[in-house]
């Protein structure tokens, strides 16, 4: 009888959105299969990291962004070790050990170690007032700094950098965004949409230095940052420097476990590590088919497949994600997905409504929608995303495509 079989032990390393979502999916399928233990480096229950920006912007509070309160873990009989970082795993004995010596044995191990911000290797990067933007602590640091300091520089004009800049500005700081590319969010937007975004953010009070290469961060006599200096010799005052120039998967633990890593912990279509089938990796730390995703939607898709496999169903396969981007800056709607830059063999449909600040670009290849970049009006984003994911032939609706889903 299966009910008499002793429960297996599942250990989750990383109390974040990817891991906890996997547990939720697993519990939905089979709540009694595992004894579950969770280690988390942050002292918080699982919270919605992507809502840190609204918190920074003062639009939400930290309490409001908690996804799974402590009670949730309790309800499902999950053992939590919060504020404890796992430092070693013995794959032979199948034991996890945390920095405080806590140990936990496992039958299956789920690695959701996430990622860490990349810090530019420039002189002054360790000065006081130079931070990254990743977690609640960073967010609180920014909120505190904004109360006492005036000049903020955000290095990185990507999604995270702009959200940080917007938040700091809303908290009263004079913010300059420094970006190495010629246009903002160059990984998510084309130059036109980025231009509109820049105009809109400038109108709100942000200042931009595009195509700017950081030479060093200059400190004052107390060891606090006071300015940023560029390769061209110019300087901007900076009491706070936020680095938002990208993330790197946290693979130190995995590497110490001798799991194969290449831009992340390399996993199969069932999210098992290629090195050790008992071990799964989900989320920003995982590299699937050479891609480590940094957005929430793919991570949820991975979670569903990993849970399916952990629940011994075994038919789920993760085949990679189409990703779409949204910027969480109130009043700015942008959306991009797929191959929105187009290029060889693709065709573009473009709509401009400058008066309303709307720009839309759809990229078509072989009668299929392969990319979309929307600015100002993203209401059709989900429809395009659906067309994109399903790879539907759009030849018959091509002329109407730009004007929204039929019957909506």
């Amino acid at each position: 009888m299966r009910a008499k079989k002793p429960k297996q032990k599942l250990v989750l390393v990383g109390n974040g959105m990817a891991g906890v979502r996997t547990l939720e999916e697993l519990i939905k399928i089979d709540p009694d299969l595992y004894d579950i233990t969770v280690f988390g480096a942050e002292p918080h229950p699982n919270y919605n990291r992507i809502l840190l920006s609204p918190v920074l912007a003062g639009e939400q509070t930290l309490d409001e962004i908690v996804l799974n309160p402590w009670s949730w873990y309790e309800e499902h009989g999950i053992t939590v070790h919060a504020g404890r970082k796992v430092v070693a795993v013995d794959r032979v004995k199948r034991i996890v050990r945390a920095d405080d010596g806590t140990e936990a044995p496992y039958d299956r191990l789920l690695l959701c170690t996430g990622s860490h911000p990349f810090v530019l290797p420039v002189p002054g990067k360790d000065l006081e007032g130079v931070i990254a933007y990743r977690d609640i602590a960073d967010t609180q640091a920014m909120i505190e700094t904004a109360k006492t300091h005036r000049h903020a520089v955000v290095i990185g004009g990507g999604l995270l950098g702009l959200e940080a800049a917007n938040g700091l500005m809303l908290r009263g700081m004079r913010v300059t965004v420094v970006h190495v590319s010629e246009w903002l969010m160059n990984r998510q937007l084309d130059d036109v949409a980025a231009g509109l975004l820049r105009q809109s953010l400038e109108a709100r009070g942000l200042t931009f230095r595009l195509g700017a290469h950081t030479q060093e961060l200059v400190g004052d006599e107390t060891g606090r940052v006071k300015a940023i200096r560029f390769k061209d010799g110019s300087e901007e005052p900076a009491d706070l420097v936020v680095m938002a120039v990208g993330i790197r998967p946290n693979v130190a633990l995995a590497e110490s476990m001798r799991l194969h890593c290449d831009r992340g912990i390399v996993v199969t279509d069932t999210l098992q590590t290629v090195t050790d089938a008992r071990i799964y990796a989900v989320g920003e730390c995982a590299a699937h088919r050479g891609v480590a995703y940094g957005l929430v939607a793919p991570l949820f898709e991975q979670a569903r497949v990993a849970a399916n496999h952990l629940a011994e169903m075994g038919y789920g396969r993760y085949l990679g994600s189409f990703i779409s981007t949204k910027l969480k800056v109130t009043g700015i709607d942008l959306f991009s997905a797929g191959n929105f830059m187009g290029g060889e063999g693709t065709e573009e449909i473009v709509l401009n409504d400058p008066a309303d600040g709307v720009y839309k670009k759809l990229v078509i290849q072989g009668d299929k929608l392969v990319g979309a970049c929307l600015y100002g009006d993203t209401s059709d984003g989900p429809w395009y995303f659906e067309l994109l994911r399903e790879g539907r032939n759009v030849r018959g609706i091509r002329d109407q495509l730009m004007f929204g889903a039929p019957g909506v």
Binding site: I349, V350, D399
Partner: protein, 952 residues
């Protein structure tokens, strides 16, 4: 501010010759109204006449007028401004060289029925007196020469015997080949008045088309094109059979009737009914009305004249008047309506290749000697005997290299001549082309080596003669703008210089006229007057002071008389050697180019209500495009259905001479197997690129240069054509409101882009509304094109830039691969920022949204609810709109929709319903040009509203 001034002058449009009062302040014409004292119109003006002042605004002048002499160093390049001295020295040197090297017949003059009598006189004297060539012809050759030949062949002189007042005495009006309602609107108002005063008056209209003129007719004979002579013979056959002729009149005043009677013997009603495609009973009724009415007046125009049988048609119609004695009495006679304002004056001074001054004949040696004497030519210098080349022959000679220097004045042959392929070859081959013009925008200007700027309406000084032989003064209201000069003055200046370079033909200058003064014009006129002494058109009793004191006068008015003669031949004596009129015995000949399987449609051409000729003047006013907004070919709906052509589809119309592309429009006014294109659509408005990559030339790319052997007038009214659906899947429509001081310049720029498309048309439009309402009228442009493939992006960008669609706030949609490109610009209202209107749009590729977006713009409807939906494809409006509809009454801007909405509330009979409609909407209460159309709408709705009445 300078004080307002009023100047009595004459309208420069049709041959009705209405008097106008020009209001001006300083150098600016500010208004126009009909001259109540002028006997042609008694204060009325038509849609064209009442908007004359709008064609003389500073904005129109700056954008369209030729204001300085200009010279092209090479064809196809932009001309550059030069001074008059340099210009005329260039012209004289070249003309003198050609005359010296190749003889006088190597030069030619092609002038215009819109020139004043004085202009004409100097041109004629220059060619025939100084240079010694008869190669001077005019666009009247395309217009009135068959009427001239018809009158001369029968009555003995080129003199319309009737007058406008005869309308009030006629019991039967026989209107043949004339859409009087549109072409001579003020005369049509007089017909309406006459019919109202005398409801017993019968009106028969003969026209292959059911025109607006038919609305007043008791009987409409829709004859097959070109069968008029058979009709007239058939009528005479019946008149003889029924003994409706006047043998006494025939015997007393005519010769040649027996031969004619024998000829019409076999023109039986059955045969005529078959050839003409009419009912034999209608034929009999027409014969009865014509012959037995107390007084029958024929009114006829280009339907008879523009024909390879033009003289025969005129002559055989006059036969009917002679045979029935319907001539020389009040209300009776053959009354040729003149197309142009001064075709009559031109004929009077002999400004054609086969005429001499005062109705003298070139072929007559005595006449030549008289003229030489009048001009004071020295011994041995005669008026040359060799007939000159008429219009078609002149351009053929230029195309063949025989004419090497060509002077074109006040006309636009690259628009109006038939067989444009030959005309363009002529203009290209000719060594030296002078174009003397008021407007820089005509197609012909592009071929000129030298452009000479001329004064025009409101600036000119001289006289014109209208259809009823009435001479009116043209007076100068404002100074000549820029460096423009009166045509006669520039030509006199040229002639005086040329005299110095040519062997002397006279002891003193042939051109002793004071340049650029009114006195100079009067001196020319006085010289012309002297030449009429003793002739049928003797005006030796007339003078400019008399015209000033007593107003316009009819000729003849010989010395000793105090007024002219209202009608001619009241005594039955005709200006022939024996005093008898001659019957014109001629066989019916079908059209020169029969329909055949490869060219199965008859193509007819004619006027629109609100346009004039090549539209160099009327085309400057958007409001005059509201009645017929764009070039179309009209066809019978069954012919279209058989060819799977829908309304608005582009068709290729091909004749043996050329092809053009334009949209088709169904009309039951057109007979089966026939088609109609308005004569106005030259390459200025309708063009494109031929299969060989050349610029398409407009309607006259198709027309037939075959001409009447007597009158040499070409058959512009008939060509055999093929009409097939054009396979041009990519289409473009761009429409924009533009500032008044830019719109015409933009139009010129867009014209240059037309040959970049297989089909292109470009026309202005206006905001309409009531004329003189005091509200600023807006104007815009509509550019339509089509091609095999999508136009290149840079070309579309150029069009967008011209139409104000290159602004940062322009809405845009582009799917380059599919050839789809759309742009639209909304402008927020300054008064109410929540309101926005569409200022410009461009649809490239899929233009079906034209159905709602064009009215949205042109009717200036609120568009704020549309936003990006303006870029949506498809014929269904994303937001419901109520378009204003086609404008029927231009004067008050009343639309068809407004009239049809109001009509059900107007009850009782048509006359009372019309009165109610006019009371409510004011439509048709100013110029009245829309009255026939209003009556048609009344008629249509009364039939529809009371089907039981139709059954009973």
């Amino acid at each position: 501010m300078s004080a307002m001034r009023e100047t009595q002058s004459t309208c420069p449009y049709c041959g009705v010759g209405c008097g106008v009062i020009i209001e001006s302040e300083g150098t600016q014409i500010t208004g126009v109204r009909g001259d109540p004292a002028h006997p042609a119109n008694f204060g009325r003006l038509c849609t064209k006449g009442s908007t004359l002042h709008l064609t003389a605004t500073a904005a129109v002048t700056m954008q369209t007028r030729l204001l300085h002499p200009m010279r092209r160093t090479a064809r196809g390049t932009a001309p550059s401004a030069i001074g008059w001295h340099e210009a005329l020295d260039t012209a004289t040197a070249k003309f003198a060289q050609v005359i010296r090297d190749h003889g006088p017949d190597a030069v030619g003059f092609y002038i215009s029925g819109q020139l004043l009598t004085e202009d004409y006189y100097v041109f004629n004297k220059l060619a025939k007196g100084l240079i010694g060539t008869n190669n001077i012809d005019t666009n009247s050759r395309l217009c009135m020469s068959s009427a001239v030949a018809g009158y001369k062949k029968t009555l003995g002189a080129d003199a319309p015997p009737a007058c406008y007042d005869d309308l009030n005495h006629a019991q039967c009006l026989f209107v043949v080949g004339s859409n009087t309602a549109w072409a001579h609107p003020i005369l049509f108002r007089r017909i309406e008045d006459a019919k109202r005063a005398n409801p017993a008056m019968k009106i028969v209209v003969v026209d292959p088309r059911r025109t607006d003129t038919c609305e007043i007719a008791d009987l409409h004979l829709a004859i097959q094109p070109g069968t008029d002579v058979m009709l007239f013979h058939g009528l005479l056959h019946l008149m003889l059979r029924e003994s409706w002729t006047q043998p006494d009149y025939i015997a007393a005043h005519t010769t040649g009737f027996d031969a004619l009677a024998a000829r019409v013997h076999d023109c039986t009603p059955e045969r005529v009914a078959q050839v003409c495609g009419i009912d034999a009973r209608d034929l009999l009724e027409t014969a009865r009305l014509f012959a037995t009415s107390a007084a029958t007046l024929s009114l006829y125009c280009q339907g008879l004249n523009q024909s390879s049988s033009g003289t025969a048609k005129n002559g055989t119609l006059i036969n009917l008047h002679l045979a029935t004695g319907q001539i020389g009495r009040a209300g009776a006679g053959p009354f040729s309506l003149t197309g142009q304002p001064n075709a009559m004056g031109g004929r009077e001074v002999g400004g054609m290749a086969n005429l001499l001054g005062a109705h003298r004949d070139l072929a007559n040696p005595a006449h030549r000697a008289e003229v030489a004497a009048l001009w004071g030519l020295s011994e041995g210098h005669d008026v040359p005997a060799t007939p000159g080349k008429t219009a078609v022959e002149l351009f053929q000679a230029a195309a063949d290299g025989d004419i090497r220097a060509l002077w074109i004045a006040c006309t636009n042959p690259a628009q109006s001549m038939p067989d444009q392929a030959t005309v363009r070859r002529a203009l290209e081959r000719c060594e030296f082309v002078v174009v003397q013009e008021a407007f820089a925008t005509t197609a012909t200007c592009a071929y000129a080596d030298l452009l000479l700027p001329a004064t025009t309406w409101g600036e000119k000084v001289g006289t014109v003669t209208n259809s009823e032989r009435r001479i009116s003064r043209v007076r100068q209201a404002v100074p000549a703008p820029g460096a423009t000069r009166h045509d006669w003055s520039a030509v006199t200046d040229f002639a005086q210089r040329l005299e110095a370079l040519l062997p002397s033909s006279s002891a003193v200058s042939l051109f002793p006229y004071a340049l650029d003064t009114e006195a100079g014009a009067e001196a020319i006129w006085n010289e012309h007057r002297e030449s009429t002494r003793g002739r049928d058109l003797d005006i030796t009793g007339l003078s400019w002071p008399m015209l000033d004191a007593q107003g316009p006068q009819q000729w003849p008015l010989p010395e000793g008389r105090s007024s002219g003669r209202a009608r001619l031949y009241e005594d039955g004596v005709f200006p022939t050697l024996d005093g008898r009129a001659r019957f014109y015995d001629v066989a019916y000949q079908p059209v020169a180019e029969a329909r055949e399987p490869r060219y199965p449609f008859a193509l007819n051409t004619g006027r629109l209500r609100d346009q004039w000729h090549g539209m160099s003047r009327t085309g400057t006013l958007g409001r005059l495009f509201s009645h017929a907004p764009e070039p179309v070919v009209q066809m019978h709906p069954e012919d279209m259905a058989g060819r799977k052509i829908r309304d608005g589809d582009l068709v290729e119309v091909t004749s043996k001479r050329g092809a053009i592309v334009l949209p088709a429009q169904s009309s039951t006014d057109i007979g089966l197997g026939q088609s109609f294109i308005a004569m106005h659509w030259g390459e200025e408005a309708l063009s494109g690129r031929s299969h060989r990559g050349k610029r398409l030339a407009g309607v006259n790319a198709l027309s037939n240069p075959a001409f009447c052997p007597e009158s040499k007038q070409p058959e512009l009214k008939h060509a055999a054509v093929q009409i097939v659906k054009a396979d041009l899947p990519w289409s473009l429509l761009a429409v924009a409101w533009l500032p008044g001081d830019r719109v015409l310049a933009v139009q010129t720029a867009l014209r240059a882009l037309m040959p970049r498309f297989a089909f292109a048309s470009c026309v202005p439009f206006g905001s309409g509304g009531a004329l003189n309402a005091g509200t600023a009228e807006r104007s815009g442009l509509l550019f339509r094109a089509a091609d095999h493939d999508a136009a290149p992006a840079d070309l579309l960008a150029e069009i967008e830039a011209l139409l104000g669609l290159a602004t940062p706030d322009t809405l845009r949609y582009a799917d380059a691969r599919q050839g789809q490109r759309r742009a639209a610009r909304l402008v927020r209202s300054a008064a109410d920022p929540t309101e926005a209107r569409l200022d410009a749009f461009l649809l490239g590729g899929d233009t079906r949204s034209e159905a709602w977006i064009k009215p949205l713009l042109q009717d200036q409807l609120p568009a704020q609810a549309f936003g990006r939906q303006l870029l949506r494809p498809g014929a269904t409006a994303p937001v419901r709109i109520q378009a204003r509809g086609k404008v029927v009454c231009s004067c008050f801007g009343v639309t068809e929709t407004a009239i049809l909405t109001r009509l059900p509330q107007c009850t009782s009979n048509d006359r009372q319903r019309l009165a109610a409609l006019q009371g409510e909407l004011k439509c048709g209460t100013n110029c009245g040009s829309c009255l026939p159309e209003l009556r048609r709408m009344l008629h249509a709705t009364s039939v529809a509203a009371q089907p039981e009445a139709a059954l009973s």
